[in-house]
């Protein structure tokens, strides 16, 4: 395996790489979109009741523990889902539950009580407090959860190739089966670069998004 192998593989398979990347990104986008739509409201709701928050967070933690390959394998055996995108999506959405709910819950709960009281004293309604105080002030933590979700989903989506998704994980799968090292390494490198890139970009945004007064030097 030399650099020339790598480059020639890239040049020869540009079309396939583009196709797989497209599949990969649509899956990740769909999964993250659905997760945001479901779990952010759930996280916000949970701030109302500590009892339910503890229960749901424990459940989310348990789901998060399940190895990703196991999760895909279990979903495949359920007749309604089977091989393919439905199982992959459900697994990814279930994994996103823990980071998203936790970060929304922590973010909102971390807001200073005095600020909320001041807002209420100024006559803000509960809804306005939520939209104008809780969410903006909780944003840094919420965004950190979002960042983890995106990077994690990108990685786990690659494993979905074993249940029939045609995405970047397929290079690794086929490379292993055919002992085609350039293919495997290319796949692994592309996924790693995408994951690291996303992590870095979102990390920069995460720093920007924090209100100046809240910035903590790390």
């Amino acid at each position: 395996m030399t650099l020339t192998d790598f480059v020639s593989f890239l040049v020869k398979n540009t079309k396939t790489i583009m196709e797989y990347s497209e599949n990969h990104f649509t899956l990740v986008l769909l999964a993250v979109g659905i997760s945001l739509l479901i779990w952010v409201p759930v996280g916000l709701l949970l701030t109302k009741s500590d009892k339910w928050a503890a229960r749901v967070l424990a459940l989310a933690n348990t789901i998060f523990c399940i190895p990703s390959l196991s999760m895909f394998a279990i979903l495949v055996t359920i007749p309604m889902f089977g091989l393919g995108r439905k199982s992959a999506l459900l697994a990814l959405v279930l994994y996103a539950m823990m980071p998203l709910i936790r970060s929304v819950y922590d973010g909102v709960k971390n807001v200073d009580r005095n600020v909320i009281e001041a807002a209420r004293g100024m006559g803000m309604s509960t809804k306005r407090i939520l939209v104008e105080i809780l969410v903006p002030l909780g944003m840094p933590i919420i965004f950190a959860g979002f960042r983890i979700t995106v990077v994690m989903t990108t990685g786990i989506a690659a494993i979905a190739t074993y249940i029939g998704e045609r995405n970047l994980g397929r290079f690794i799968q086929e490379g292993l089966v055919r002992s085609n090292t350039p293919m495997m390494v290319t796949g692994a490198l592309i996924i790693s670069i995408i994951a690291i890139g996303l992590d870095t970009i979102l990390g920069v945004i995460e720093k920007r998004i924090v209100p100046k007064g809240l910035r903590v030097s790390r």
Binding site: I66, L69, S70, A73, L176, M184, L189, A195
Partner: protein
């Protein structure tokens, strides 16, 4: 689904796979603790703090690399078998423990440390008798994260010939035998959840009563 297949998977195949999987997890986590806790202690000393940030950034980058990519990259460099798998897993299990060791040690309030040095304790004794005991719950929580992670990615290690529960799952997927899938995946999930709960309990027991947070 047939009962015979199920029984075969559970009683003939699973014990060996489970044993291999446990071995991978135990060896990896032991090595990870042996490397990362001293590293964390070293990096949290005021003298070496500037290395801390660099190391954490590097480990952060390593952590962002998906597990399947690490496994795939380990094959051409390290070859087939259990050893390469353990090395690959080791790379990614370092970060949570190092990060939590540093966070735990830096979290010890400086009043406590001052009181200890005022009582005439040496730096070394402060580390062993004050800082580490107070930081252990946080370090354990890092070890818990790493353990769950290793169990999870350990199922992928079967791809490079390390054996373990991944063998059952991969076999089940390629032969399309749901029984194999259920046994392999179920045991993997149970193992991860069990270890998570166990270390969580240990964390709870080891935290001094005065420090427990509701």
């Amino acid at each position: 689904m047939r009962w015979e297949n199920f029984r075969f998977a559970l009683f003939e195949k699973a014990p060996e796979a489970l044993l291999e999987h446990s071995m991978i997890v135990v060896i990896t986590i032991t090595l990870a603790i042996l490397i990362s806790v001293p590293l964390g202690v070293f990096l949290s000393r005021p003298k070496y703090k500037k290395f801390g940030l660099v190391t954490l950034n590097i480990l952060n980058l390593l952590q962002a690399v998906p597990g399947i990519a690490v496994i795939a990259l380990a094959l051409p460099i390290l070859g087939l078998g259990m050893k390469p798998a353990i090395v690959a897993l080791l790379f990614q299990s370092l970060l949570p423990i190092v990060r939590n060791t540093i966070a735990g040690l830096l979290g010890v309030s400086s009043d406590v440390k001052e009181a200890a040095s005022g009582m005439g304790m040496s730096q070394r004794r402060i580390l062993w008798e004050v800082e580490l005991p107070l930081a252990i719950p946080i370090i354990l929580s890092g070890i818990r994260t790493a353990t769950v992670y290793v169990v999870s990615i350990g199922t992928l290690a079967s791809l490079i010939g390390a054996g373990g529960l991944g063998n059952l799952i991969m076999g089940g997927l390629s032969l399309f035998r749901p029984e194999y899938l259920l046994v392999g995946a179920g045991l993997g999930a149970l193992m991860a959840i069990f270890l998570d709960r166990m270390i969580n309990y240990l964390e709870y027991r080891i935290t001094p009563p005065g420090m427990r947070v509701e």
